[in-house]
Structures are given as C-alpha cells and as structure tokens.
Amino acid sequence: MNQTSSIFPRSPQWESDGTHRIPFVAYTNEELYQRELERFFYKSHWCYVGLEAEIPNTGDFKRTAIGERSVIMVRDAQGAINVVENICAHRGMRFCRERHGNRKEFVCPYHQWSYTLKGDLQGVPFRRGVKQDGQVYGGMPADFKTSDHGLTKLKVATRGGVVFASFDHEVEPLEDYLGPTVLKYFDRLFNGRRLTILGYNRQRIPGNWKLMQENIKDPYHPGLLHTWFVTFGLWRADNKSQLKMDAKHRHAAMISTRGQGGKAAQVTDVSSFKESMKLHDPSFLDVVPEAWWGKPSVVMTTIFPSVIFQQQVNSVSTRHIQPSGHGAFDFVWTHFGFDDDSEEMTLRRLRQANLFGPAGFVSADDGEVIEFSQQAFESKPFHRALAELGGHEVEDTKHMVTETLIRGMYRYWREVMEAT
C-alpha cells in the first residue's frame, strides 16, 4: 500500500517553477501544515502578539498565541515587554487560564512553581525537602538549578506600539524582516502616537490559515464579492492603486486612493452597482480624511505569516491569524484608535467598524468564501487553484487587476518549504 495515490497526493505537485497554480494539497496536508508551523511560525519569523496599549501597566498581561503555541505578553516592573510561553517548566501545564489581567508573578497552580514577569523560575515548593526527626526527606536534587528551568522566553520587538515575538532568538531584526518598502506603510499607521484599544472581535474560520493572507493579497475580489462596496460607490475601478511587496514577496501592501472624478457608474463596470441605491443612514460612510493618511485612503498590509494591518478609511485594526490544524484558524480583530482622537473620530471609527469583522458588511463574506474553498480543497486535493490574473510573474504593480501578491507569497512559501 505504498504506491502514490493520484487522488490524494502526499506532497504538492506544482505544474511549473511558477506559483500561478497552487495545488489544493498545500491547504489540506497535515504534514505540510506542521512544516509551516515549524518554518514560518516557530523559526526565523516574527509573529504578531499584540499592542503595547493592551498592557499599559506593570504586571498587565495578555494571553495569546503564536501558531498553535500559547504565549503570554506581559509588562514587567522596568516597563519592558516580555513574551513567555504558557507552559510550566515542571509538568508542562498551560498554567495561565485568564486571557488578560494583572500579576506580580506567574504561579502554576499544579505545584505552585512561581516565575517572575520575565519568566525566571523563582520558587519551587519543597525544593529542599521536608525536615522530620532531624532528617531531610525528598526535595529536588542538589544539582537542580532554578536558572535552568525558567519559562521559554521569546525574543521581543516593539515598534510604534506593536509587539512582535519570535521563538527563534537568531531571527533577523524586525525592521529587516519587514523590509524598507513595507516598513514605510507600517510606520505610516503606527507613527509613534499612543494607541487606544476599542475592543475585540473573534471568529473561527474553517479554512486554511493561508487563505486569509491570500484574501488580503487579492484586490480582484473586493469589487466583485463585496457588492456592498460597489453598491454604495465605495469601490471604483478608477481608484488609484498600488501593490507593493518586500524583497522576499512575503509581505505586501495594497494601497488605494479613492477615485474622485466622473460618475461612479461609468467607472465601476460591475453589474451590482445600483446608482439609485442610497443608504437609509449615510453615517456608515461618514469618512473624514486624516492628516497621517497622506494620499491613500485604504492601505491593507499583510505581514507574513501572522497578521494583517487594516486601514480602511477611518477604521483601523489588527487582524491576528492563529492557525488551528490545517483546516481552521482563529481570527482575532483588535480595533484601535489614537490618543489624540476627538470623541467624534472615535465614534466614526466605531461606526465604520460595522463594515468589518465577522458580521461586517464587507468582511463576513470573506470568511464564507474561505470556508467553501477549503471544503473543495479537502474533497479534491490533487487539483489546483489559479492565480493568473495579471500574468504569471511576481512584481509590484500600479493597478489592482492582478493576483501578483498571491504569486509572490507562494514564491516565498516554496523557497522556505522546499528547502531541505
């Protein structure tokens, strides 16, 4: 029974050196998925863990995940941010059960091993045994050193109030990891202002985690799937657009500036556009340009593998991808604002948040299409998806009619996954 199956291949059969045809098995194979976890989430990459504003005070912590591993982001007495793995050094228990809170130390309830906020082991009950009748019974061996048994500490990088971490202490500096092209758009959004947290949305999407990266690297679908965008004239084919990638093509920015001239109908060319359709309450689209935007009104930044930074007019958020097996991921949205926002601007950001998230006018359907793609991939793993809009190449463009960013991501994926 070891002949190769033509229906259920064990490895992706790419049709060429290119990445314009993506084997379904890349989304369905558990072994490949484990290699992705290892190579993208646990080694040589930075993963998103949160925003500094989520843990403003000493002892504040937030529990989150990198890949499938539970981690805790915590601010220590010196004000530094540490990220430690949520696994007790003793019996391996995931000791931290709250998702947020404030602690002076971490204590595993099982045997009361305690750790500093930096993750150093500080207390082991009965370490020196029990004295009874002048004798010492039990205890840890004489050569047991607490310094050998801290929590797993991650390397941490913060920039503009955003916290990244890596299990890999050899990882390149965050700025090099993002690369100058994408860093520019990162710094545009996170330009040093203090952030304020507006809240969370959490959804579990039954699809492979890469599909969410691809969704936000795909400017082909918004004007077609998201008919709400089109119906109310928010998406127009004359929007000035750019697609940019880092040198390795793993990260990208989709940059768009709302078209101004002409009637929307003439430039939309999409049947779902209804000129007569008006919102009953136009305040959903009460867009007020902000000084920090510069020109673009929309910049969607995909940081491989774990996060998407959203600026859709006045709505800004981080979207955290937490994979759970090859066929599902948790998608956590953190909406935020800025310290200097007026009350009106905060209300505006919250109102525009109705467009996004698991029930949003233009985001709920993203989760749906991902689910139905995954269903098909599972049933026909020998087949492949097309990403040929705009050709077979990987290149930055000044238009949206291309799937170049998806091809770029898979070029990188192949480089890393096919390396021995």
Partner: protein
C-alpha cells in the same frame, strides 16, 4: 416598581414576536420592532465587561437597521442557514410610565443545509422598551453574547 399583568403580557408578546420574525426570514419586519432613533448592538461579553466600546454590529438608527436588511438580502454573500431563537422569560429591572428596562437570556441555534443543528450564539438581551402609540418598541436592544468564537460569520439579526 411592579408592572401589571397586561404590561407583562405585552412584554412577553414583544419578545416572542421578535424571535418569531428574526427566525422567519422576514427581515423586512425586523426594523419595525424599534424606535426611529434606536440602538441595536451585538457585542461580545468581553468588550461589554471590560468597557471596550467596539461591537460586532452597532446601529444607532432605524435607518441603519434597514440598511442591514438590505445587506442581508442583497449584498452579503453567505451560506444560507436557518436560525432558531430560544428566549428566556424577561427580568424586569425597572419600569415606569414611559419605559421598561429588561433582560432575557437567549440561545440561537444555526442549521445549515444538509447539516446538523449547532449552538450558534448564546447571550443576554439588555433592553430598553418604550411605550408608543403603536405598542411597545425597543429603544435599545443590546445582544451581549458569551460565545467566544463566532462560527465564521453572523449574517441575520440576533
């Protein structure tokens, strides 16, 4: 303040009618349960209890509810599903001549075509209900849900 039987009957009728309509697929009738300057919020319990203002959906006028209905019917691509609300008896927290402040637990089951019924969204309504010439209407309905993970998406009104 105590409310009389007539009021309590009208209140339970409102809750039952609301559940019947949002489960019936006749979403056009959903906004009529609300006042013109109503509030409708679907919010994770986490945000509600931590004082974060973000809601999964947050509407502040009947017009917005009508826009949502249009989105459900015309623009939001989604897997078709049935939903079924089970709503507990309302607890009346406050009542006076103009308004009632009430709460009720709810559970919503979702059934997709060719699939089993599953628990979809579970939480608590926190309501302000006002007396109008057309009967009781929601001035505010907040759906504060316990469900930690939305199973992909929520399309229809809770």
């Amino acid at each position: 303040m105590r409310i009389d039987f007539e009021d309590y009957f009208a209140l339970t009728q409102l809750y039952a009618d609301y559940a019947a309509i949002v489960d019936s697929g006749k979403y056009d009738l959903w906004p009529d349960f609300f006042t013109d300057d109503c509030i409708y919020r679907l919010q994770p319990r986490e945000n509600y209890e931590r004082g974060f203002p973000l809601a999964t959906l947050s509407f502040t006028s009947k017009g917005m509810l009508k826009d949502r209905v249009y989105g459900i019917q015309e623009t939001l691509f989604h897997d078709p599903y049935y939903q079924r609300h089970i709503v507990g008896s309302p607890v009346v927290r406050k009542a006076d001549a103009e308004r009632l402040e009430c709460e009720a637990n709810y559970a919503v089951f979702r059934t997709k075509l060719s699939d089993a019924s599953t628990v979809f969204n579970v939480g608590r309504y926190i309501d302000t209900i006002v007396r109008t010439p057309a009967g009781l209407k929601f001035a505010s309905r907040q759906c504060i849900y316990d469900s930690e993970m939305i199973p992909n998406s929520i399309i229809y009104p809770i």
